[in-house]
Subunit: 227 residues, 3 copies
Amino acid sequence: MSDFIISMHIFYFIIMITGSIYFYVLSRKPKQVPLYEYAIAMVIPAWSGAAYLSIALGQGLVSNPDKTIYFARYIDWVVTTPLLLVALALTAMLQEKNKNKTLLFALIISDVFMILTGLIADFSNDSIKYIWYILGMIALVIILVIIWYPLRKIADAASPELSRHYKRIALYLSCFWILYPTAWLAGSSGIDITHQSIEIAAFIILPIFSKIGFSILDLHGLRNMHL
Amino acid sequence: MSDFIISMHIFYFIIMITGSIYFYVLSRKPKQVPLYEYAIAMVIPAWSGAAYLSIALGQGLVSNPDKTIYFARYIDWVVTTPLLLVALALTAMLQEKNKNKTLLFALIISDVFMILTGLIADFSNDSIKYIWYILGMIALVIILVIIWYPLRKIADAASPELSRHYKRIALYLSCFWILYPTAWLAGSSGIDITHQSIEIAAFIILPIFSKIGFSILDLHGLRNMHL
Amino acid sequence: MSDFIISMHIFYFIIMITGSIYFYVLSRKPKQVPLYEYAIAMVIPAWSGAAYLSIALGQGLVSNPDKTIYFARYIDWVVTTPLLLVALALTAMLQEKNKNKTLLFALIISDVFMILTGLIADFSNDSIKYIWYILGMIALVIILVIIWYPLRKIADAASPELSRHYKRIALYLSCFWILYPTAWLAGSSGIDITHQSIEIAAFIILPIFSKIGFSILDLHGLRNMHL
Ligand SMILES: CC1=C(/C=C/C(C)=C/C=C/C(C)=C/C=O)C(C)(C)CCC1
Ligand SMILES: CC1=C(/C=C/C(C)=C/C=C/C(C)=C/C=O)C(C)(C)CCC1
Ligand SMILES: CC1=C(/C=C/C(C)=C/C=C/C(C)=C/C=O)C(C)(C)CCC1
């Protein structure tokens, strides 16, 4: 493995641990924002950082002669993407006393399904790779529908302020999440038209925005709402 | 893998996706039945269909010279059987405001234990296969006891109508669930006295009844109750 | 595998099944202690017993020429240690109507993280083994902080009696949990300065105390409280 790959992943690890500590510091003055929002924001980068560390240490990947599979990315995603969706959903339901568990369940199971199809696709030959990819895309569409219909309605019903905040972070999340299957498809997992270092960089930069960036946006938006 | 096996599994995949869509359509006019009942009924066949698709694609099995292990069945069951039990239990507790989480926890953990013992048994030699099988059977007995004692008492206390409905679907589920370890034992995982195509057919037909059939029975029963 | 190892693990299996049955018997006369406390106490030894049985049967370990990895221990721990923490936390929150789910979530995720780092460390070379070990130790410190600060405050606020009981079982748990990474480090997973039979004995005796012993202490303490 090249030094570039190793140092990028160590850099990522440091960013993530810093982010986790930052959210911990924020949680000391919660400003009425429920503590679970902070807890989720702390756990996401800690878990992801450890997963990427395993890549830096040469363990979270399998190098075949023709392609490298970074399976630690899926170990990262299978935990952090459900948590991101839960954070988003709990923001929408901030003022509900009884959180809608059916929506949380539907989000989590669709998301886990999506990540697993990606993992299988990555380990599949070209002939069947795209069957799994398409199933994963269907799951992503279901997730986006849940985000933009039932969840948005709940946020809309709460207050104009929460509704505005929810729409902003939901849009942010949706944009980044659509970039993932795109980068995946263009990279070595898919049709492989990207230079390797571009692909590595993409999977370093994207998660910084969709994890740390997302949580900063969400938490500061909520903190400024003077709940 | 024979064409028979492939086409049977693709047939199953199509049935399951159709079932999932059908429950979605039902959910548009929920008739007072809580949405989680529909959500669970949609997720079960979608997950199972994908698992069986992996068998059709030649990925969800390992072919040893002397025996084939369809490990994707366990990936199916480990998610869908807890959900079937949760659907049953939530039907029993339909009118409880606070669902009894201890019973849900006991059902889920016993069920996951049962499926894992089956998986280990399938990968074990004859000398120790039946130790795991017996442990799995004990877990199944515990599940049946929970279904027929504490859960039935809850349904009985709710209303005569719910009690009748609960007993009907619990009996349906119990009968089918007892057939699984029987088919397993008779088939290539166990003592292997069944012709291979009978075994394949059994594990196509049984889950259609115990997934789609069960959810149809449960949902229509609840819908006709005029809750 | 030596007869000593096999018979120790079968002995353990029998102790655990006996413990599970004992907690079931206790639960028939619950004395106002919530049933979930009994359910958790029953599940922990049943799961752990099955995991150790797999070692006795020669399946739950990999024997390399230079070292043996008992991976079934991690399968045991990944389920039982979160349950032990949940039992402890639910004791602290006994009188809360709405259990604090943020604390339960933080405990469970930190614990699963700790066990996974241990598993990875056990499969790693010396050069990187201790990186994972240290990450696991950090998770253990986070767990201990949650036990001794937020959870203790909740127990203190409930009643002097509950506070006393909570502190006793939290101290008991903390002492035993600190012995695990110590035994791990001294044994073949770590720097390997222990005789093999001492190590085996340690991982038989420690869990008897930290599972059966802990649950006995917790349940009898609660039962004597005349809730
Ligand atoms: C749809 C789809 C995918 C989507 C992945 C996504 C949406 C990942 C999001 C990751 C995040 C947000 C990580 C953390 O920041 C895969 C698995 C690539 C391939 C299969 C099809
Ligand atoms: C007791 C037992 C088993 C039971 C399996 C069951 C009860 C499966 C049910 C599956 C369903 C209902 C699937 C979906 O429809 C095994 C694992 C075969 C073998 C070990 C002993
Ligand atoms: C901190 C740490 C560990 C801690 C393990 C513990 C605390 C295990 C507790 C087990 C119990 C209580 C079992 C059941 O009774 C490992 C994984 C050994 C190694 C990595 C660092």
